[in-house]
Assembly symmetry: C2
Homo-oligomer: 128 residues x 2
DNA sequence: AAAAGTGTACTATGGATATAATACACTTAG
DNA sequence: CTAAGTGTATTATATCCATAGTACACTTTT
Protein backbone atom coordinates (compact mmCIF):
# COMPACT_ATOMS: atom_id res chain seq x y z
CA UNK A 1 0.00 0.00 0.00
CA UNK A 2 1.44 3.35 -1.09
CA UNK A 3 2.03 5.48 2.00
CA UNK A 4 0.74 9.05 2.28
CA UNK A 5 1.03 9.48 6.04
CA UNK A 6 4.36 11.32 5.68
CA UNK A 7 2.99 13.80 3.11
CA UNK A 8 2.81 17.30 4.59
CA UNK A 9 0.78 19.59 2.34
CA UNK A 10 2.25 23.05 1.85
CA UNK A 11 0.29 25.97 0.49
CA UNK A 12 1.28 27.88 -2.61
CA UNK A 13 1.35 24.67 -4.65
CA UNK A 14 -1.83 22.96 -5.91
CA UNK A 15 -2.72 19.95 -3.76
CA UNK A 16 -3.21 17.62 -6.72
CA UNK A 17 0.32 18.43 -7.93
CA UNK A 18 1.78 17.66 -4.50
CA UNK A 19 0.04 14.28 -4.52
CA UNK A 20 1.40 13.51 -7.99
CA UNK A 21 4.89 14.56 -6.91
CA UNK A 22 4.67 12.38 -3.79
CA UNK A 23 3.82 9.28 -5.81
CA UNK A 24 6.53 9.92 -8.39
CA UNK A 25 9.11 10.59 -5.68
CA UNK A 26 8.19 7.27 -4.06
CA UNK A 27 8.65 5.45 -7.35
CA UNK A 28 11.99 7.17 -7.98
CA UNK A 29 13.15 6.36 -4.45
CA UNK A 30 12.13 2.70 -4.86
CA UNK A 31 9.73 2.74 -1.91
CA UNK A 32 6.79 2.48 -4.29
CA UNK A 33 6.88 -0.39 -6.75
CA UNK A 34 4.98 -1.74 -9.75
CA UNK A 35 1.70 -3.47 -8.84
CA UNK A 36 1.47 -1.86 -5.39
CA UNK A 37 -1.98 -0.89 -4.13
CA UNK A 38 -3.01 2.73 -3.65
CA UNK A 39 -5.43 3.83 -0.95
CA UNK A 40 -8.95 4.51 -2.17
CA UNK A 41 -9.91 8.04 -3.22
CA UNK A 42 -12.21 8.35 -0.21
CA UNK A 43 -9.70 7.00 2.30
CA UNK A 44 -6.90 9.27 1.09
CA UNK A 45 -9.30 12.20 1.02
CA UNK A 46 -10.06 11.61 4.69
CA UNK A 47 -6.41 11.08 5.62
CA UNK A 48 -5.20 14.33 4.02
CA UNK A 49 -8.32 16.31 4.84
CA UNK A 50 -9.00 17.34 1.25
CA UNK A 51 -11.91 16.87 -1.12
CA UNK A 52 -12.29 13.48 -2.87
CA UNK A 53 -12.46 15.29 -6.21
CA UNK A 54 -8.97 16.66 -5.63
CA UNK A 55 -7.62 13.13 -5.09
CA UNK A 56 -9.46 11.94 -8.16
CA UNK A 57 -7.88 14.68 -10.24
CA UNK A 58 -4.38 13.68 -9.10
CA UNK A 59 -5.03 9.99 -9.75
CA UNK A 60 -6.63 10.67 -13.13
CA UNK A 61 -3.58 12.64 -14.26
CA UNK A 62 -1.22 9.95 -12.93
CA UNK A 63 -3.17 7.36 -14.91
CA UNK A 64 -3.00 9.49 -18.06
CA UNK A 65 0.78 9.59 -17.62
CA UNK A 66 0.86 5.84 -17.15
CA UNK A 67 1.85 5.65 -13.49
CA UNK A 68 -1.21 3.74 -12.30
CA UNK A 69 -4.10 1.62 -13.52
CA UNK A 70 -7.70 1.92 -12.36
CA UNK A 71 -10.65 -0.44 -12.77
CA UNK A 72 -14.13 0.60 -11.67
CA UNK A 73 -14.98 -1.06 -8.37
CA UNK A 74 -11.45 -2.24 -7.55
CA UNK A 75 -8.49 -0.53 -5.92
CA UNK A 76 -5.99 1.24 -8.16
CA UNK A 77 -2.53 -0.19 -8.72
CA UNK A 78 0.85 1.39 -9.42
CA UNK A 79 2.10 0.81 -12.95
CA UNK A 80 5.81 1.42 -13.47
CA UNK A 81 8.03 -0.37 -15.96
CA UNK A 82 11.77 -0.59 -15.40
CA UNK A 83 12.31 1.90 -18.22
CA UNK A 84 9.87 4.40 -16.73
CA UNK A 85 11.52 4.14 -13.31
CA UNK A 86 14.97 4.57 -14.82
CA UNK A 87 13.95 7.77 -16.60
CA UNK A 88 12.33 9.14 -13.46
CA UNK A 89 15.34 8.35 -11.31
CA UNK A 90 17.59 10.25 -13.69
CA UNK A 91 15.42 13.27 -14.39
CA UNK A 92 13.73 14.13 -11.09
CA UNK A 93 16.85 14.86 -9.00
CA UNK A 94 18.47 16.70 -11.90
CA UNK A 95 15.45 18.92 -12.42
CA UNK A 96 15.16 19.83 -8.75
CA UNK A 97 18.87 20.44 -8.34
CA UNK A 98 18.93 22.73 -11.37
CA UNK A 99 16.14 24.89 -9.96
CA UNK A 100 17.94 25.00 -6.60
CA UNK A 101 21.26 26.05 -8.13
CA UNK A 102 19.58 28.81 -10.10
CA UNK A 103 17.82 30.19 -7.03
CA UNK A 104 20.97 30.09 -4.89
CA UNK A 105 22.90 31.94 -7.60
CA UNK A 106 20.15 34.57 -7.67
CA UNK A 107 20.78 35.05 -3.95
CA UNK A 108 24.45 35.71 -4.63
CA UNK A 109 25.66 32.55 -2.89
CA UNK A 110 28.89 30.79 -3.84
CA UNK A 111 29.16 27.12 -4.73
CA UNK A 112 31.15 26.39 -1.58
CA UNK A 113 28.67 28.18 0.66
CA UNK A 114 25.78 26.34 -0.93
CA UNK A 115 27.38 22.92 -0.57
CA UNK A 116 28.24 23.63 3.05
CA UNK A 117 24.68 24.71 3.74
CA UNK A 118 23.25 21.57 2.15
CA UNK A 119 25.58 19.34 4.19
CA UNK A 120 24.68 21.10 7.43
CA UNK A 121 20.93 20.92 6.82
CA UNK A 122 21.14 17.33 5.63
CA UNK A 123 22.51 16.24 9.00
CA UNK A 124 20.12 18.48 10.92
CA UNK A 125 17.09 16.91 9.31
CA UNK A 126 18.39 13.41 9.97
CA UNK A 127 17.74 13.76 13.69
CA UNK A 128 14.04 14.47 13.19
CA UNK B 1 17.20 51.00 -11.58
CA UNK B 2 16.19 47.51 -10.43
CA UNK B 3 16.77 45.05 -13.28
CA UNK B 4 14.09 42.62 -14.44
CA UNK B 5 15.56 41.70 -17.82
CA UNK B 6 17.06 38.50 -16.40
CA UNK B 7 13.76 37.34 -14.86
CA UNK B 8 12.42 34.28 -16.67
CA UNK B 9 8.84 33.59 -15.64
CA UNK B 10 8.03 29.94 -15.02
CA UNK B 11 4.52 28.57 -14.87
CA UNK B 12 3.10 26.78 -11.87
CA UNK B 13 3.99 29.70 -9.59
CA UNK B 14 1.89 32.90 -9.47
CA UNK B 15 3.56 35.70 -11.44
CA UNK B 16 3.21 38.26 -8.66
CA UNK B 17 5.06 35.91 -6.30
CA UNK B 18 7.91 35.47 -8.79
CA UNK B 19 8.27 39.24 -9.04
CA UNK B 20 8.35 39.58 -5.25
CA UNK B 21 10.93 36.80 -5.05
CA UNK B 22 13.08 38.45 -7.73
CA UNK B 23 13.20 41.75 -5.86
CA UNK B 24 13.97 40.09 -2.52
CA UNK B 25 16.68 37.94 -4.09
CA UNK B 26 18.26 41.07 -5.54
CA UNK B 27 18.27 42.74 -2.16
CA UNK B 28 19.73 39.66 -0.49
CA UNK B 29 22.41 39.38 -3.20
CA UNK B 30 23.29 43.06 -2.79
CA UNK B 31 22.57 43.93 -6.43
CA UNK B 32 19.50 45.90 -5.34
CA UNK B 33 20.08 48.57 -2.72
CA UNK B 34 18.14 51.00 -0.56
CA UNK B 35 16.84 54.05 -2.46
CA UNK B 36 17.18 52.42 -5.88
CA UNK B 37 14.51 53.21 -8.48
CA UNK B 38 12.08 50.57 -9.71
CA UNK B 39 10.69 50.56 -13.24
CA UNK B 40 7.16 51.92 -13.54
CA UNK B 41 4.23 49.51 -13.36
CA UNK B 42 3.46 50.06 -17.02
CA UNK B 43 7.08 49.69 -18.21
CA UNK B 44 7.62 46.44 -16.28
CA UNK B 45 4.26 45.18 -17.47
CA UNK B 46 5.40 45.67 -21.08
CA UNK B 47 8.85 44.17 -20.45
CA UNK B 48 7.51 40.97 -18.88
CA UNK B 49 4.42 40.77 -21.05
CA UNK B 50 2.01 40.59 -18.13
CA UNK B 51 -0.92 42.73 -17.04
CA UNK B 52 -0.19 46.01 -15.19
CA UNK B 53 -2.55 44.89 -12.42
CA UNK B 54 -0.32 41.89 -11.76
CA UNK B 55 2.72 44.16 -11.35
CA UNK B 56 0.72 46.46 -9.11
CA UNK B 57 -0.25 43.51 -6.91
CA UNK B 58 3.39 42.48 -6.49
CA UNK B 59 4.51 46.05 -5.72
CA UNK B 60 1.62 46.63 -3.33
CA UNK B 61 2.54 43.52 -1.34
CA UNK B 62 6.23 44.48 -1.35
CA UNK B 63 5.26 47.89 0.00
CA UNK B 64 3.10 46.32 2.71
CA UNK B 65 6.13 44.27 3.75
CA UNK B 66 8.28 47.41 3.80
CA UNK B 67 10.54 46.67 0.82
CA UNK B 68 9.62 49.74 -1.23
CA UNK B 69 7.98 53.15 -0.98
CA UNK B 70 5.51 54.59 -3.46
CA UNK B 71 4.27 58.16 -3.94
CA UNK B 72 1.48 58.89 -6.40
CA UNK B 73 2.93 60.37 -9.58
CA UNK B 74 6.58 59.53 -8.85
CA UNK B 75 8.63 56.39 -9.38
CA UNK B 76 8.78 53.84 -6.57
CA UNK B 77 11.97 53.37 -4.56
CA UNK B 78 13.50 50.39 -2.81
CA UNK B 79 13.39 50.63 0.97
CA UNK B 80 15.75 48.27 2.80
CA UNK B 81 17.41 48.97 6.15
CA UNK B 82 20.63 47.19 7.08
CA UNK B 83 18.70 45.11 9.60
CA UNK B 84 16.13 44.05 7.01
CA UNK B 85 18.86 43.07 4.56
CA UNK B 86 20.71 41.11 7.22
CA UNK B 87 17.61 39.08 8.10
CA UNK B 88 16.90 38.39 4.44
CA UNK B 89 20.46 37.31 3.71
CA UNK B 90 20.29 34.81 6.54
CA UNK B 91 16.81 33.39 6.03
CA UNK B 92 16.33 33.15 2.27
CA UNK B 93 19.18 30.72 1.45
CA UNK B 94 18.38 28.66 4.53
CA UNK B 95 14.71 28.36 3.61
CA UNK B 96 15.44 27.32 0.02
CA UNK B 97 18.13 24.86 1.01
CA UNK B 98 15.85 23.23 3.55
CA UNK B 99 13.14 22.63 0.96
CA UNK B 100 15.76 21.25 -1.44
CA UNK B 101 17.20 18.83 1.10
CA UNK B 102 13.74 17.56 1.97
CA UNK B 103 12.86 16.93 -1.68
CA UNK B 104 16.15 15.16 -2.42
CA UNK B 105 15.65 12.91 0.58
CA UNK B 106 12.17 12.07 -0.70
CA UNK B 107 13.83 10.91 -3.92
CA UNK B 108 16.06 8.56 -1.96
CA UNK B 109 19.27 10.46 -2.74
CA UNK B 110 22.30 10.42 -0.44
CA UNK B 111 24.04 13.53 0.89
CA UNK B 112 27.16 12.79 -1.17
CA UNK B 113 25.19 12.28 -4.39
CA UNK B 114 23.28 15.49 -3.81
CA UNK B 115 26.39 17.55 -3.15
CA UNK B 116 28.09 16.10 -6.23
CA UNK B 117 25.04 16.92 -8.34
CA UNK B 118 24.94 20.50 -7.07
CA UNK B 119 28.64 21.01 -7.82
CA UNK B 120 28.29 19.61 -11.33
CA UNK B 121 25.27 21.73 -12.20
CA UNK B 122 26.81 24.82 -10.62
CA UNK B 123 29.69 24.69 -13.09
CA UNK B 124 27.44 23.80 -16.01
CA UNK B 125 25.29 26.87 -15.51
CA UNK B 126 28.33 29.11 -15.21
CA UNK B 127 29.08 28.76 -18.92
CA UNK B 128 25.65 30.09 -19.96
C1' DA C 1 1.62 76.03 -18.79
C1' DA C 2 1.15 71.78 -21.34
C1' DA C 3 2.20 67.07 -22.13
C1' DA C 4 3.84 62.85 -20.80
C1' DG C 5 4.60 59.64 -17.32
C1' DT C 6 3.28 57.55 -12.87
C1' DG C 7 0.65 55.55 -8.87
C1' DT C 8 -3.81 54.11 -7.70
C1' DA C 9 -8.57 52.54 -7.95
C1' DC C 10 -12.44 50.33 -9.97
C1' DT C 11 -15.45 47.01 -12.64
C1' DA C 12 -15.78 43.00 -15.50
C1' DT C 13 -14.38 38.53 -17.40
C1' DG C 14 -12.24 33.90 -17.81
C1' DG C 15 -9.55 29.98 -16.18
C1' DA C 16 -7.71 27.06 -12.55
C1' DT C 17 -8.16 25.21 -7.97
C1' DA C 18 -10.84 23.27 -4.34
C1' DT C 19 -15.01 22.17 -1.99
C1' DA C 20 -19.78 20.17 -1.55
C1' DA C 21 -23.33 17.03 -2.54
C1' DT C 22 -25.17 13.36 -5.34
C1' DA C 23 -25.54 9.46 -8.20
C1' DC C 24 -24.52 5.04 -10.43
C1' DA C 25 -22.07 0.85 -11.97
C1' DC C 26 -18.79 -2.37 -10.62
C1' DT C 27 -15.85 -5.33 -7.35
C1' DT C 28 -14.94 -7.38 -3.13
C1' DA C 29 -15.80 -9.02 1.60
C1' DG C 30 -19.03 -10.79 4.81
C1' DC D 1 -26.46 -13.16 -2.04
C1' DT D 2 -26.01 -8.88 0.38
C1' DA D 3 -23.68 -5.07 1.91
C1' DA D 4 -19.84 -2.37 1.92
C1' DG D 5 -16.29 -0.40 -0.59
C1' DT D 6 -14.55 1.60 -4.92
C1' DG D 7 -14.03 4.17 -9.40
C1' DT D 8 -16.32 7.49 -12.02
C1' DA D 9 -19.30 11.27 -13.40
C1' DT D 10 -22.05 15.36 -12.76
C1' DT D 11 -23.61 20.01 -11.13
C1' DA D 12 -22.96 23.90 -8.23
C1' DT D 13 -20.33 27.25 -5.55
C1' DA D 14 -16.33 30.01 -3.88
C1' DT D 15 -11.76 31.76 -4.18
C1' DC D 16 -7.47 32.98 -6.41
C1' DC D 17 -4.86 34.40 -10.45
C1' DA D 18 -4.54 37.09 -14.48
C1' DT D 19 -6.28 39.87 -18.06
C1' DA D 20 -8.80 43.95 -20.07
C1' DG D 21 -10.34 48.47 -20.05
C1' DT D 22 -11.12 52.79 -17.92
C1' DA D 23 -10.51 56.67 -14.94
C1' DC D 24 -8.34 60.18 -11.97
C1' DA D 25 -4.91 62.68 -9.19
C1' DC D 26 -0.23 63.65 -8.82
C1' DT D 27 4.77 64.37 -10.47
C1' DT D 28 8.12 65.12 -13.82
C1' DT D 29 9.61 66.64 -18.19
C1' DT D 30 9.38 69.67 -22.03
Amino acid sequence: MVEFATLRLEDGVPIYLQIIRHVKAGIAAGTVVDGEELPSRRALSALLGVNPNTIQKAFRLLEEEGWLQSHTGAKSLISATAKQVETLRKNLPDYQARAFVRSMKALGATCADTVALVETLWKEEESE
